[in-house]
């Protein structure tokens, strides 16, 4: 390479400066030469007087002081230009107000959807993160194998584990035990309410921080008879004035123990996995439960707070070593689950967390993105279509000296204005619709526009929408030369047509994926709901069966049996929807030595199967007429399968030393989560009434049944209100998120197709308008109305068909993967695909034909006269 001559032999040239280059943006080309020349001249003069270094500094100062006046001048001119852009934009908007409104409305709907989904997702992700050290809290999970390779992950550990932690693990800062959910009948003497709560370790409030309204977190749970209430519960029992003197007040629990209120905490934030009305210290729970001390029993939840910086992955194996050493059982493993994952990632398969609610969060994230994309594509399409008609405006602007940059600014600015208009409409809609959205999702979301994070996210979404909408006109249209546009007198550059087609195809492909996807989610949820449902949930009333009511169950049942609204009465250990007890200890003839299959057990009263509405497959159920039924068993089909019995009736089974025969087989139904496989089940006749009361009301006479129930209750347990629930309500509560997801998914899919059709509507209007004269000539030459309609619609129908060809396989692929993660799942049938395809084409045709029919019916005399 040739050596360049040194540009500055005498060191007199003005050195480069960033500020000066910035200043140059505000100068006219003439000025740039002139002023830089001046600076150079002045610099040389200064070098000769004060030296190079100070001359340079003086120049920097010059530049700095020059900035303000020039910038001010340029702002004045720029704002004049923007006022012109604004006027043009408003005129255009007004001239095409129908199209422009479609544009704004479509985008606004897209924005509202995106905003709602964003808020929903943020809320889901915020679960359980409100404690001071949420990121250091872990839940100890135990993987227990139930033979045949089946591993279940449970949130229960041996109780003595807690006691050894502090001594043996420096990484663990604190650990708290946590019972399973309790239900207490709390009474002040005046009124009794049933409340849900937990027994917890005394230092519970050290690990999990809550806002205390009364009492001290450190001392609240120290005495065995203490109870800490939530604000709601305090109000319920002690009235609005509870604050005055609540500490030290007493409550009786289950009509026996007296408890002292030692603290009141603010109501739990909505984003809490473990919800409770009250907590009590562990002492009373442990009393008389010596078996809890046994390392082989896992019955309590355990939460840890690790030291800052400690690695949970290293702590878990150490805990495991300890458990194995004490239990001499190496079939189990231990893992620590971050507390903030409890809500979203608590589905375990083979001992590994595979997701959970996070699936729905993801699905909704995608749905939101898709709907927004469809809305933006709409916006791009209409902006593109419109801008092709603006050839002359662009030509004139260019001829008058508008630079490409300023045209780009104009188009981007226009689309930003549209998206800002859409934003205001979207915010208004969001404000109006939020209460319904909250009611639907059961959340308490607020718009909170003042929150900087929220505002900036909404702003960013709007900005992106605006930028993308203006992209095509800004970059493509601004590149045409003024002479070409003006001389050829073309109204539209043919350009844009291909882009528009691609956009329409991608829009409908996205809609197809979305609709097929949401349809599948909906179907799958419906499938889970309707198959293997076991209990007939309609008209089934449940209540807690404990205390006096349990003791006098037979009297109670006898009382109810005569009542006209009641069909039958029974009870079971646990809800028919959830049977938690499990054992591998069941024995039968021919059982393999290493067969560790876990059988779920339910202790039930007489008439259980009939009352719950479980379908009997063969044999009979427990009956009072057969005295030895007390030791006989009813099993489900899975159990027969697990034991390899083809003729299960009459076969002998033994459990814990008691032997009986199988007298009946019931059809399989879900005993736990809808997502897990149905386990083998054994129903045993309970010798003592306890657990959950089941009352089947006669169809259409539930009110009578409830009245009878209350009367019966009042005669046995006077003074305490009967608390009951319908099983379908309990079920709806358990699967609320699935139900909500299904409903939401449908709404969003509907919105997506609506927005897409809105766009198509706008485009069709545009096409029909552009081809008015062509149609006039065709009709004058004898074209028929249907012929013209087909001519105008064909293109769109073809585009939509192409979109289906792309969308369906993609949707099928995605949906198949999702369905595969369910133990029991539906399939995406040919029927629903055909339905969606037909609906898409039909809707597109309908939308387009509104315009094409009008255009085709127009009298050619009117359309051609103006020429």
């Amino acid at each position: 390479m040739k050596e360049m001559p040194h540009p500055d032999p005498d060191g007199q040239t003005l050195p480069p400066s960033a500020v000066r280059r910035f200043l140059e943006h505000f100068l006219t080309p003439e000025e740039r030469i002139d002023i830089l020349g001046d600076m150079e001249e002045e610099f040389r003069y200064r070098v000769s007087v004060v030296g190079r270094r100070r001359a340079r500094g003086a120049n920097q100062l010059d530049v700095l002081f020059a900035l303000l006046p020039f910038m001010w001048r340029s702002i004045t001119w720029t704002s004049l230009m923007w006022i012109n852009y604004l006027t043009t934009a408003f005129r255009l908007f007004w001239r095409h107000r129908a199209q422009a409104s479609i544009n704004v409305a479509g985008l606004a709907i897209g924005l509202v959807t995106a905003f709602f989904i964003l808020m929903w997702v943020e809320d889901e992700l915020a679960y359980d993160r409100y404690h001071d050290d949420s990121d250091r809290i872990y839940r100890v999970m135990q993987n227990v194998s139930f033979g045949a390779g089946a591993i279940e992950t449970v949130e229960a550990v041996p109780m003595p584990l807690d006691a050894v932690f502090e001594a043996q693990f420096p990484e663990i800062e604190n650990s708290v035990l946590f019972s399973n959910e309790q239900s207490w009948a709390l009474s002040t003497g005046d009124a009794t309410f049933r409340e849900g709560g937990y027994f917890v370790d005394p230092d519970y409030f050290d690990v999990f921080t809550y806002e205390f309204l009364a009492g001290e977190p450190t001392s609240a749970l120290q005495s065995p008879e203490a109870i800490v209430l939530t604000e709601d519960l305090a109000v319920r029992h002690f009235g609005q004035e509870w604050r005055r003197s609540i500490l030290g007040k007493t409550l009786s629990v289950d009509e026996s123990t007296e408890l002292t209120v030692t603290g009141v905490i603010a109501n739990l934030p909505a984003q809490s996995s473990y919800r409770f009305d009250a907590v009590r210290p562990m002492y009373s729970f442990l009393q008389g439960k010596d078996w809890l001390e046994d390392w082989r029993n896992s019955n309590l939840r355990l939460f840890l707070r690790l030291e800052p910086g400690a690695d949970a992955a290293l702590v878990a194996p150490k805990i495991l070593d300890l458990v194995v050493e004490r239990t001499e059982d190496n079939s189990r493993t231990i893992q620590l689950q971050p507390y903030s994952d409890v809500y979203l990632r608590s589905n375990f398969v083979d001992g590994v967390a595979v997701g959970g609610r996070i699936e729905y969060v993801r699905i909704f994230g995608w749905v939101g993105l898709f709907v927004l994309l469809i809305a933006i594509i709409n916006f791009m399409n209409l902006a593109t279509a419109r801008s092709t008609q603006r050839g002359r405006e662009i030509g004139v602007r260019k001829a008058l000296g508008a630079s490409r940059l300023s045209l780009m600014q104009q188009f981007l600015g226009e689309s930003m204005m549209t998206s800002l208009a859409a934003l205001s409409l979207a915010l208004l809609l969001a404000f109006l619709l939020l209460p319904s959205f909250n009611a639907l999702t059961g959340k308490v979301l607020a718009l909170n526009l003042l929150d900087p994070g929220r505002a900036s996210k909404f702003g960013a979404i709007t900005l992106i929408a605006g930028l993308m909408g203006g992209l095509y006109p800004a970059f493509v249209l601004s590149s045409f030369s003024a002479t070409a546009v003006l001389r050829d007198r073309v109204t539209g550059f043919g350009g844009g047509a291909r882009v528009r087609k691609i956009l329409v195809v991608s829009q409908f492909a996205l809609s197809t994926i979305l609709i097929l996807g949401t349809l599948t989610v909906y179907n799958q949820i419906g499938y889970l709901r309707e198959t293997h449902l076991g209990a007939d949930r309609e008209n089934l009333i449940t209540a807690e069966l404990d205390g006096v009511l349990a003791e006098k169950y037979e009297t109670f049942k006898a009382y109810l049996s005569g009542e006209p609204g009641v069909a039958s009465v029974s009870f079971g250990s646990g809800s028919p929807l959830l049977q938690n007890t499990r054992t591998p200890s069941l024995r039968w003839d021919g059982k393999a030595e290493d067969d560790g299959t876990g059988f779920r057990l339910a202790w039930v009263g007489h008439d259980y199967v009939e009352t719950a509405g479980i379908k009997l497959d063969e044999g009979r159920t427990h009956s009072a007429e057969f005295l030895n039924d007390a030791s006989n068993f009813v099993i489900n089909q899975q159990a027969a399968l697990a034991m390899g019995m083809e003729q299960p009736l009459g076969q002998e089974l033994s459990l814990w030393g008691s032997t009986g025969v199988i007298i009946g087989v019931v059809q399989d139904y879900h005993l736990a989560s809808l997502y897990s496989p149905i386990d083998p089940l054994v129903l045993i006749l309970a010798d003592e009434a306890e657990g959950q009361l089941l009352v089947r009301a006669k169809a259409g006479r539930t009110q009578e049944a409830i009245a009878s129930l209350k009367r019966a209750h009042a005669s046995i347990v006077p003074g305490v209100d009967m608390e009951y629930e319908f099983l379908d309500e309990e079920w709806a509560r358990m699967y609320r998120s699935e139900l909500v997801t299904g409903t939401l998914a449908n709404y969003f899919a509907g919105l997506a197709i609506f927005i897409a059709c809105l766009g198509l509507f706008g485009l069709a209007a545009f096409t029909a308008q552009r081809r008015t004269r062509e149609i006039g000539i065709r009709k004058a030459m004898g074209a028929s109305v249907p012929g013209v309609v087909m001519l105008l619609s064909r293109e769109f129908i073809l585009l939509v068909a192409l979109a289906l060809l792309i969308g369906v396989p993609v949707a099928w692929y995605l949906v198949d993967g999702w369905l595969g993660s369910f133990e029991y799942h539906t399939t995406l049938g040919f029927g629903s695909i055909a339905l969606v395809a037909l609906a898409a084409v039909g809707l597109a045709f309908l939308t387009v034909s509104i315009h094409s029919v009008r255009a085709a019916r127009a009298n050619p005399v009117d359309t051609l006269r103006c020429e």
Partner: protein, 108 residues
Amino acid sequence: MNLLSRSEELILLAVWKLQGEAHGLAIRRHLMTVTGQTWSIGSVYVPLDKLVKLQYLDSQSSAPTAQRGGRSKRLFSLTERGLSALNQVKLIQQTMWEGLPALTKQLG
């Protein structure tokens, strides 16, 4: 009637004074010498630009010089309109000053 602002007036006067040599830097130096204050580049060029647009001033580019790093300079000269504007200002000022008492505060 469009009256000149004080800085515009001074700049026009400087151009008149410098005659054929009136380019930006020279104007600025002259103004700084006369007023004893710093005139930033912007405070000279922005009014110059405006005065050219109002056709009080004409500008011509000279040949590029090495002194200026190979850049030409723009020489400004007064137009008829510029001259009459200056005359107008001068006339107004003279009229305003005429017959006023001495500008000293009468004490006591």
